[in-house]
């Protein structure tokens, strides 16, 4: 018999008893889809269940606030590797982000380029599926190939396969020291070349972003290094040499300024008050310049060395049509419900993959109870 977790039996009961759709809510800060249904909250599952700094492991109820987990890890100089973004501001959905919501959205910040996405640090899940069955997969160890990896499948499934009740992560030591290197005035193509050169160096760049309209309206290309102090100084020097062809190069070593720079990249804050629809694209970094060329009216921000693009476009504009043929995917993050309904929030999968995803959803949620229609 399974142990029960706080709030889990109630969630299972709600699902089993449901006669219509349920809308799953964590902190409500990342709800990008349009769904109907009675609200099902995960707050009763909140609480850190286990934290072992020596094993680099944390396990928490899905309803636990992201702040609580990050504060706890910081007390031992550790952190969630993937730097989860707070998108409430830019999405106009203020609130207290939950760790379950982070997982359901597979939300990952700038460090994704080096250490992977949320799904790469996620080592275990418990969830209640659409039948009301409690299912666990993975566990609390970082190497685990026992059976199928449903952990990855649940990450980024936006509640459509099950309601997460508990999640386990591999964590990492927080960096002791950090520095940021800034190149100003580059066009998009040159910025992506500069970031590729940095990311292809042995100097362990773990953030690479380009803001076409940065400080004082100037384009800024930003690269981050983290680690022990002497090592950061050494790599900053070598990287400055490497990027000399892209002058002018300056360095930022003030910790508060560095935190502020990368939080704005992570949370897309420059676009919080900008009018228009907000899209999020994932493409091959070298296609970034082509994306920019196809979207002359858009305001853009680049992360992940150019592979993650945030775009503000005029209301109702079909960005997917404009970038058609460029491999990758585009998600409509912020728009009116009408625009979301007509363009679709999630990128349509090719037919054979869409068929697989649809069948998976009907296996996990045969009655179509959990966030129905949200992803397709």
């Amino acid at each position: 018999m399974l142990d029960t977790l706080p709030g889990e039996a109630e969630i299972a009961d709600r699902i089993r008893a449901a006669t219509g759709p349920l809308r799953i809510i964590g902190g409500g800060t990342r709800s990008i889809g349009v769904t109907d249904g009675a609200v099902l909250e995960t707050s009763a599952t909140a609480g850190v269940r286990l934290y072992e700094p020596g094993a680099l492991t944390v396990v928490a109820g899905a309803g636990t606030s992201l702040d609580e987990i990050e504060t706890l890890l910081a007390s031992e100089n550790q952190a969630l590797p993937f730097e989860p973004p707070r998108l409430g501001n830019v999405l106009g959905k203020p609130g207290n982000s939950t760790i379950g919501g982070v997982v359901a959205a597979n939300a990952s910040g700038p460090r994704r380029i080096q250490v992977g996405a949320c799904r790469d640090s996620l080592i275990g899940v418990r969830f209640v599926d659409g039948r009301g069955d409690v299912i666990k997969n993975g566990g609390r160890v970082m190497k685990n190939v026992t059976g199928y990896d449903l952990v990855k499948l649940l990450a980024g499934s936006y509640g459509t396969l099950g309601v997460l009740t508990e999640v386990a992560f591999k964590v990492l030591p927080a960096p002791a020291s950090r520095a940021t290197l800034r190149v100003t005035g580059l066009n998009v193509a040159d910025a992506i070349r500069a970031m590729s050169a940095a990311l292809g160096s042995p100097f362990e760049v773990n953030g690479a972003a380009h803001i076409p309209s940065g400080e004082g309206g100037q384009p800024e290309t930003l690269m981050r290094i983290e680690g022990f102090a002497e090592s950061v100084t050494y790599r900053l020097g070598r990287l400055t040499e490497l990027l000399a062809p892209f002058e002018p190069v300056s360095t930022e070593e003030d910790p508060a300024a560095i935190s502020q720079i990368w939080e704005q990249v992570r949370d897309v804050t420059p676009f919080a008050d900008v009018e228009g629809d907000l899209w999020r694209l994932s493409v091959k970094p070298s296609d970034g310049a082509e994306v920019a060329a196809r979207l002359p009216e858009a305001q853009l921000m680049f992360d992940w060395g150019g592979g993650l693009i945030w775009a503000i476009v005029p209301t109702g504009c079909d960005l997917r049509a404009a970038v058609q043929g460029i491999p990758g995917h585009a998600t409509l993050m912020r728009a009116s419900d009408d625009t979301k309904a007509s363009l679709g929030v999630f990128h349509p999968d090719p037919a054979p993959l869409a068929a697989i995803s649809t069948k998976l959803r009907s296996e996990f949620d045969p009655r179509g109870t959990l966030n129905p229609g949200l992803m397709g």
């Binding site: 094993a55 059976g147 070349r193």
Partner: protein, 482 residues
């Protein structure tokens, strides 16, 4: 381990099946004579053998699709095979199955340093992927011990790890896309050079599915720039508990070595005799490796050695040259071979929370007395992935069975302390019947439903991963329609 009895109806249609396969493949790509199919009777879990009905060696995605379409129509089980290095019996055939080997799919299709990816056919060996980008100082990070021989297809099927995954992750963290053929012959492309999935993360569930969801023919892999340098340090301790405590202290201090390897007394002695590595005579040995420039390495090793000294080591040996570094690694890298020289052995693969290391090592020692079989321990200590090697005599009646029973107890212990049955080798047939120790019926049912979606007829590697009794109804169900 029991395998399902072959279906006489399938055995009876061998001539027709061979004829149909020969029509879509070159003559030398269909292997069906009894003396030749024997080459495919087992993988690296050699205790179990059974020649397949036939083996096929397609050389393109189209040929793989043609083969699967025929097998699907004929209702014949297919067992995908990389290089046959599975320690879990993942590529073990049944007499009524077709082995689909990917050995001829070995081309590099694209290298792209700007985007830090390589696209290869899946039969390419792990080490030769790194070899293809070595000139530009790049490498492919996952490095299973069998990397000279093992294929990327098998790495994806088992989600293989290696010694360096504490820093770089395992296969699933370095896999960006695949071309995969479904059992009915449909070709699908998932992911690519971009990051993450736009919809459900199908790639994530395919990686590690032990060849049960589809046959991967091409893979897009993340490549990384080589670090400027790497240097190992060897530490000897008078007890495994102390070595375990040292590992935990290193991790807590915020240093993240690229590898932390552990060996116990038996493995130290055997590997030293075999390789002449010059290891100290002690109860536990750690090899800790860090990367970077010389100055960065000095900084990190300085911290690590300071921690190690607090644990009263019997020896601390820092490599001062490439030659000394190679000697430190020599014994560890030859450990499985060295133990194989003195005895038959079974290699387990459970993972435990690293904080449980001392307790689990002590319990394994006690169980070793109870079962009357010796155990050597060599493993990736940083991530808790253990590799107990149980020594037995294959020629002594009953010894294999005792060894398997002992192994099962060790794996149950791993689960009991919060770990899992397998960290990187996969379930295969070896741990199939222990799945219930880790997962409830509902947990397993959820996984079976995933297979139902990808392979409704249960023809792909059907007798693996899950207990046979649990999958019987699905395996013996009506074959999928043509």
């Amino acid at each position: 381990m029991e395998m399902p009895a072959p279906d006489p109806a399938i055995l009876a249609k061998k001539p027709r099946l061979i004829e149909r396969l020969q029509a879509v493949l070159p003559a030398d790509a269909v292997i069906h004579n009894d003396h030749e199919t024997r080459a495919y009777e087992c993988d690296a879990l050699t205790a179990y053998k059974c020649p397949p009905l036939c083996a096929v060696l397609p050389a393109s995605t189209e040929e793989v699709a043609a083969v699967l379409k025929i097998c699907h129509q004929e209702g014949v089980p297919v067992v995908p095979r990389g290089s046959g290095t599975s320690l879990a019996g993942g590529a073990l055939p049944t007499a009524d199955s077709v082995i689909l080997g990917v050995a001829r799919l070995n081309d590099v299709l694209e290298t792209d340093y700007d985007n830090r990816i390589i696209r290869v056919q899946s039969g390419r060996t792990n080490l030769s992927v790194s070899g293809a980008v070595e000139e530009e100082d790049f490498f492919y990070a996952p490095d299973p011990s069998s990397q000279l021989a093992c294929a990327i297809a098998g790495n994806i099927a088992m989600n293989s790890g290696g010694a360096h995954c504490l820093k770089y992750g395992v296969t699933t963290n370095n896999l960006l896309g695949v071309t995969m053929v479904m059992m009915d012959g449909t070709v699908v492309k998932i992911g690519g050079a971009h990051l993450d999935a736009g919809g459900l993360d199908l790639l994530g569930v395919i990686c590690g599915s032990e060849g049960q969801l589809g046959v991967v023919t091409e893979a897009t892999l993340r490549i990384l720039r080589k670090p400027e340098g790497a240097r190992p340090v060897l530490m000897g301790f008078n007890s495994s508990e102390v070595a375990g405590a040292c590992v935990a202290d290193i991790i807590k201090a915020g240093v993240l070595p690229v590898a932390i390897e552990f060996m116990d007394r038996l493995c130290i002695r055997v590997t030293d005799e075999f390789s002449g590595a010059g290891y100290p005579d002690c109860d536990a040995l750690l090899i800790v490796e860090v990367e970077g420039s010389d100055a960065e390495i000095d900084e990190q090793l300085g911290m690590i050695l300071q921690i190690a000294r607090k644990h009263d080591p019997v020896e601390l040996r820092e490599a001062t040259s490439a030659d000394e570094a190679a000697r430190i690694w020599l014994g560890r890298k030859s450990a499985f071979g060295a133990v194989g020289r003195i005895n038959d052995y079974m290699c387990l693969d459970g993972t435990i929370p690293v904080t449980e290391l001392p307790y689990v090592l002590r319990r394994i020692g006690e169980m070793s007395e109870e079962f009357g079989l010796e155990v050597g321990n060599v493993f990736h200590a940083g991530d808790g992935n253990m590799h107990p090697l149980i020594l037995f005599d294959a020629n002594k009646p009953g010894d294999l069975e005792t060894c398997e029973a002992f192994g099962a107890e060790i794996l149950k212990l791993c689960v009991e302390v919060g770990g899992c049955l397998t960290g990187e080798h996969g379930v295969g047939i070896e741990k199939r019947d222990l799945m219930g120790a880790q997962y409830s019926d509902a947990d397993i049912e959820a996984q079976l439903r995933v297979k139902d979606v990808f392979d409704p007829g249960w023809l792909l590697n059907p007798a693996k991963v899950f207990p046979l009794a649990v999958t019987e109804a699905r395996r013996l169900g009506p074959p999928a329609a043509a």
